[in-house]
């Protein structure tokens, strides 16, 4: 140990000598020396001298041995990885301790120091592995010794920094790779590739990558299922073949989504005997399926300008496939020619309402009386089912053969229409009418880019000639537009079961088209109104301002969930004016907020990594100026044992850590302490800060001072000097 006095201490000594000289001059030797010593002690206390002690260098370099005790170390490939590490350690202990001053740690998410004996009986129980955190922690705790590190691990990292972001360390880190992928039995679906959007009725391709460890000469079925609300339906089965025991293979599926919306699918491979991880045999994904073409069935009771114009709008829309029937001749019409000279065809009532109705997305009745054309009540029941169960849309446009006048009261149609029917109160009013938009935010009325522009457009539309007086709206229905002149309901809508239904009292919207043209405007507002109306009637999603798409609605903890938010085309503003935030909440309590990054003006992306199991609600909120739009999704998060889900040893990561720190990687079978010799220097302690010790802090000094004073008092009393 090296002692070193401070300058203050030296000054104190000089002062002490001066005091001695003074006391000796004025007092007797016997008493004075006692006083002098007490004085010296007091001076010692006042000056608080200290001494810096530099630690002595070890003769052996320090080495911290870290053993991974996470769950993945319990994997048997074919022997337990932890068992292998413990046996190796037991085998090399003496050799290690001969060469190094060794401390032992176990680690998973963090590290803890323990004795060698306890390390040998440690169990693989850690739920996560954070190798970086363990290294940081050990280096911090033993910074005085600045040891080199020896890590025994399978390298499977399930927490902490991403591998590419790992830090560089100043102490050399040596690693021993435990685990043998060749002894592992596991089938895993590594990746699924599929377009995130598909069209109903159009085939879509799915590519699945399967990885095999341990199953040689094996044929396995890969099953694609569609997951419904209550059951799973097997769509296709493909076979994947593995010749060798390690390898990857791709399987392709081609399937055709049969309905629209967000459809859920599952790719699964049956769990094999002795398979180490079971969760990775299944992957769920969802597919946003839209309509390539809306299929509309338009039945019109009599030819009219409204039919001509509306048909033209629907026919000219490339996204609409229109089938229409218009009754050209009623039984009372007499034609002086044979049927062969007429282009008329019999109305295929049974074919339409029994066989093909479900192929359509929207059914329009304009001034159409069912009773005259062989349509039976059970056909109307089919229409009801088409709306409520199949999610089809239904629109009835007023006319002398519509609503109550078409004998729909008390029929199955009555139950889905949003308006009441009473033939005594239903009338065709032959007066000019203009629309008062009641629900200004409703998508069918969104003709302009802003609310002000929208209002201006609706005010500029020409008057319509006449309307059908609807007696009243049903409870729960939404009055969308009424007559500006007398408040009569003109457009009423609601949702019935899975579908949407609208009742329309206006029947001459063609006058908007010609009227706009008269004023020199394009007909786009008229066209837009009808296109939005049929889209609202046929789809719940298309009319949304904001649509959130998640890559899956069932996911595992720790796995990122990708979020895409699409803003409806036509909304004003630039990307800079907009921000989309996704709030994650559980049981009504918001837990996280994610700000999405804009990809372009209409698309935002981000991801969320769920940390706990549960049912979460994700709410995407678009803020655009003072307006906000939202879309909501529910995600079910299941717990996933990440330690076991990916059972493959990750020796590459260990190599990377060792390489960055100036250490070296060894396979367990190759490692011996001799290989570390010369690579860990004892001089690691050079540069360690000396420790300063306070020499005045001992309580014995006070006791000595008090004793001396008592002695001095006793001597003086003895000499009768008091």
């Amino acid at each position: 140990m090296d002692f070193r006095f401070d300058a203050v201490a030296a000054f104190a000594i000089i002062l002490s000598f001066a005091a001695i000289l003074i006391l000796l001059r004025f007092a007797g030797w016997g008493v004075s020396w006692l006083k002098f010593v007490v004085f010296l002690i007091l001076v010692w206390f006042v000056l608080e001298p200290s001494v810096a002690v530099a630690p002595a260098a070890n003769s052996k370099p320090s080495l911290a041995v870290l053993v991974d005790v996470s769950k993945s170390m319990g994997i048997e490939d074919p022997r337990s990885r932890l068992d292998e590490a413990q046996k190796l350690l037991d085998h090399i202990r003496n050799s290690l301790e001969d060469r190094f001053k060794v401390t032992y740690y176990q680690f998973s998410e963090s590290a803890s120091r323990l004795s060698f004996e306890n390390l040998l009986i440690a169990k693989p129980q850690g739920d996560k592995t954070d190798i970086d955190q363990a290294i940081d922690q050990v280096l911090y705790e033993s910074k005085r010794d600045k040891p080199a590190l020896l890590i025994l691990s399978d390298g499977t990292k399930t927490a902490g920094r991403k591998e590419e972001d790992s830090a560089s360390w100043t102490s050399p880190i040596f690693s021993v790779g435990i685990g043998n992928a060749a002894g592992l039995n596991d089938i895993a679906i590594l990746e699924t590739h599929i377009s995130d959007f598909a069209f109903k009725g159009r085939p879509v391709e799915l590519s699945v990558t399967v990885r095999n460890y341990g199953f040689a000469q094996k044929r396995l079925p890969v099953i694609l299922k569609e997951i419904g609300e209550k059951s799973e339906e097997e769509i296709q089965v493909r076979e994947v073949r593995f010749g060798s025991s390690i390898g990857e293979s791709n399987v392709s599926f081609k399937f055709t989504p049969g309905s629209v919306g967000r459809l859920k699918y599952r790719v699964a491979i049956p769990v094999q005997k002795n398979e180490i991880a079971k969760l990775n045999n299944t992957v769920d994904f969802s597919l946003e399926v839209g309509r390539e073409k809306l299929r509309i069935l338009y039945l019109c009771g009599q030819p009219s300008p409204e039919y001509y114009f509306l048909r033209q709008v629907l026919k000219s829309d490339p996204s609409i496939d229109l089938v229409s029937f218009v009754i050209l001749r009623n039984p009372e019409n007499v034609v002086p020619v044979s049927e062969d000279q007429l282009s008329l065809i019999p109305f295929p009532a049974n074919d339409i309402f029994v066989r093909t109705l479900s192929e359509f997305d929207l059914l329009i009745f304009e001034n159409f009386s069912y009773a005259r054309f062989g349509i039976q009540p059970y056909h109307l029941e089919n229409i009801k089912r088409f709306v409520e169960d199949k999610g089809g849309g239904f629109l009835m446009i007023g006319g002398e053969n519509s609503f109550g006048r078409g004998n729909y009261a008390d029929s199955a149609i009555d139950s889905i229409l949003p308006v009441q029917m009473d033939v005594t109160r239903e009338e065709i009013e032959d007066v000019p009418v203009s629309l008062k938009i009641v629900d200004e935010d409703h998508p069918i009325f969104a003709l302009g880019d802003s609310a002000a522009e929208n209002k201006k457009i609706w005010q500029s539309l020409p008057l319509l000639d006449g309307y059908y007086r609807l007696p009243g709206i049903k409870s729960g229905a939404s009055l969308l537009a009424s007559s500006k002149e007398n408040g009569a309901p003109l457009i009423v809508g609601w949702r019935r079961g899975k579908g949407r239904v609208m009742a329309m009292g206006i029947f001459s919207t063609w006058q908007w088209a010609l009227g706009l043209s008269e004023k020199g405007f394009l007909q786009s507002n008229y066209t837009q109104f009808w296109r939005q109306t049929v889209r609202w009637l046929t789809s719940l999603e298309d009319s949304k301002e904001v649509r959130m798409i998640l890559n899956q609605t069932q996911c595992a903890t720790g796995k990122p969930l990708s979020i895409q938010v699409f803003v409806r085309q036509g909304q004003g503003g630039s990307a800079g004016d907009r921000s989309v935030t996704v709030t994650v909440s559980q049981e009504g309590k918001a837990s996280e907020s994610i700000l999405l990054n804009p990809v372009n003006r209409n698309e935002f992306r981000g991801e969320w990594v769920p940390s706990r199991e549960g049912r979460y609600e994700l709410l995407a909120l678009l803020k655009e100026g003072l307006k906000t739009f939202s879309d909501k999704r529910v995600v079910s998060v299941q717990g996933a044992d990440q330690e076991l889900e990916n059972p493959y040893p990750n020796h590459d990561y260990l190599k990377s850590v060792s390489h960055k720190s100036g250490g070296e990687f060894f396979m367990a079978s190759e490692f011996s302490p001799e290989k570390l010799e010369g690579k860990i220097r004892a001089s690691l302690t050079v540069g360690v800060e000396p420790v300063r010790k306070n020499l005045s802090s001992s309580p014995w000094l006070l006791v000595i001072a008090a004793g001396l004073l008592m002695c001095e008092w006793a001597v003086r009393r003895y000499n009768n000097q008091l």
């Binding site: 030819p303 409204e306 039919y307 001509y308 026919k315 007499v334 001034n367 319509l464 006449g466 008269e518």
Partner: protein
Amino acid sequence: MALLLIVFFSFVSVVHALGNRFVLAQLKAQGAVIQWDPYPRVGSDILAFLQQTTSVKADPNRRVVSLKDSALFQAPFMIYTGSGQCGFGAEEREALKRYLSGGGLLFVEDLACESGGSFDYSFRAELKKMFPDKAMSVLSRNHAIYRSFYLLRGVGGRKMTHNYLEGLDLDGRTAVIYSQNDVLGAWAKDLFGNYLHVCEPGGEAQRWESQKLMMNIILYSVTGTYKTDTIHLPFIEDKLKK
């Protein structure tokens, strides 16, 4: 009494709003066009026949409109007939252009039945001024006009100048139908109900074809290309073969 009530309600039930009724409008020509209304009583005969034979509900009164009249845009179907020099002022031309572009249908008759005649020449020139990049063309026999109600193998008219109709297409629909056979002339009757003109050269059969053609043109104005939809094709082709 009960019978009276039924009759009353039957009457009420056939009341239609003007907005969704077929309106037969006649364009009152300006300028040097002569005989813009040669058959003033034809309209009622046409409408009566239309309502008797088809389900189309029509305004029983013919409407006469001019190109300066706002009522032009209340009638999506309009007949324009005449002879002599056809010429529109700039304002009229713009109104007609807007009418046609907005969805209106114009049936034009060259009363003179004279190919390359004054009306023929001047009307084509007017159309060219309105739609410089468009030109009329012969309507094929598969056009919806030939099958919108009757299955027609040809055309009719008072005088068979051509065995076809011409048309101008705008935005995927035929907006102008042009005839030089005087189809309306085949309908014309005197006060005693006798036809005014002999149809040449086909006689009464040609007259019947004229009447059927007129019906088809009206039906086309309220059904558009309905009869060219795929679902009708096998039926129509089957009937045409017969």
